[in-house]
Symmetry: C2
Subunit: 210 residues, 2 copies
């Protein structure tokens, strides 16, 4: 642990809209979010971007660059944020000496793969309402993991970001959030969300999740 700590760089804080890295940048490091949040996105040649992920405190960004040493996404802060930067080459060297570090890092990569495949299922088969319910439950459990409330939280991203991430338009996200509120399952005040009926939300997405 001490040895891992030695290679970590604590960077300056990032403010809203600051980029951690940009698409096609050389890959050097992965980053652990300490506070705040980030989104990753790709720009299609036709202009419009698509959000590929959100990263909350305790989560790791930048694994999209490992394969070909070039970042496939851009990463940008959604609010004031701080991170730990872990230079990848040093992580590799240290992993050769510390079996548990190697094991943990394999697990982290595996978790990213499992997560991405889950989103694949969501995007390929869920209705708009199911996507939004699933998204809110997902954010809830991610906040719970770092000790924050799983029932009341602040969304750091815009409705537009959520829409791009879930393959929906802003309008659909907005309308269905309102609809879930009218049904009494959630309460929405701008970006402040309260999950009032988690079990009913789970029922919407189809039981075997969260």
């Amino acid at each position: 642990m001490q040895q891992l700590d030695d290679i970590v760089e604590r960077n300056r804080p990032y403010k809203k809209a600051d980029h951690l890295y940009r698409q096609h940048d050389e890959f050097r490091s992965i980053f652990a979010v300490r506070s705040g949040s980030f989104k990753t996105y790709v720009l299609s040649s036709s202009g419009s971007g698509r959000v590929t992920g959100f990263y909350l405190p305790g989560e790791i960004i930048g694994m999209d660059g490992i394969a070909d040493r070039t970042h496939a996404n851009s990463a940008v802060a959604l609010e004031h944020a701080s991170i730990c930067e872990i230079p990848f080459s040093q992580l590799e060297s240290l992993s050769l000496k510390l079996p548990s570090l190697q094991h943990n890092f394999f697990s982290i990569l595996g978790a990213e793969i499992t997560k991405d495949q889950k989103i694949h299922t969501i995007l390929s088969s869920y209705s708009a309402e199911q996507r939004i319910a699933s998204f809110l439950l997902g954010v809830s459990s991610r906040y719970a993991r770092v000790g924050l409330s799983p029932t009341r939280f602040h969304l750091p991203m815009t409705r537009g970001d959520i829409g791009e991430y879930l393959g929906l338009t802003v309008e659909t996200v907005s309308k269905l959030s309102t609809a879930l509120q009218k049904k009494g399952l959630i309460s929405v005040d701008n970006r402040e969300i309260a999950l009032l009926e988690k079990n009913e939300l789970r029922a919407i997405v189809g039981a075997d999740e969260f």
Copy 2:
């Protein structure tokens, strides 16, 4: 290389519909496809499955189990197939001794992450026609990688599999394949595909791919 070879187990051949592993099975190994092909899928509690991936010769299956030591998908052969099984714990031990093996395995995991994120973009923003064009171009370049023709190939999966993978219905896959054929961009004879106008297919998906 010799040392890696020593830990690899060459299993019996698999025939169509044989499972390599099933959802919730304990994770022990990853598998390299030697010949034939596999699909991975999840079963939702509501019954219907969703295909999460196709694996062609030279590709690696099973990384969905690394994180929590349990497979998140099932993997099943689409045709007669053979694989190399690589016990994960031995791969981990050997990776500690061979820096280049560790490095390569990190790259393989990274490539899986990059691939999954690309599918995220496809599912969240492409039209049905773009998805199918993109899928065909993807299969083409994967066959090309192992020395097969990038313009004429056999699809090992059903239209239904493709539909589940791309978030479309069988009917849509069928209709749009026919439409692409009528436009003269591809030729379809059951599962035999020929890509006649690759550049026009690329134009459909939006230029900066393949």
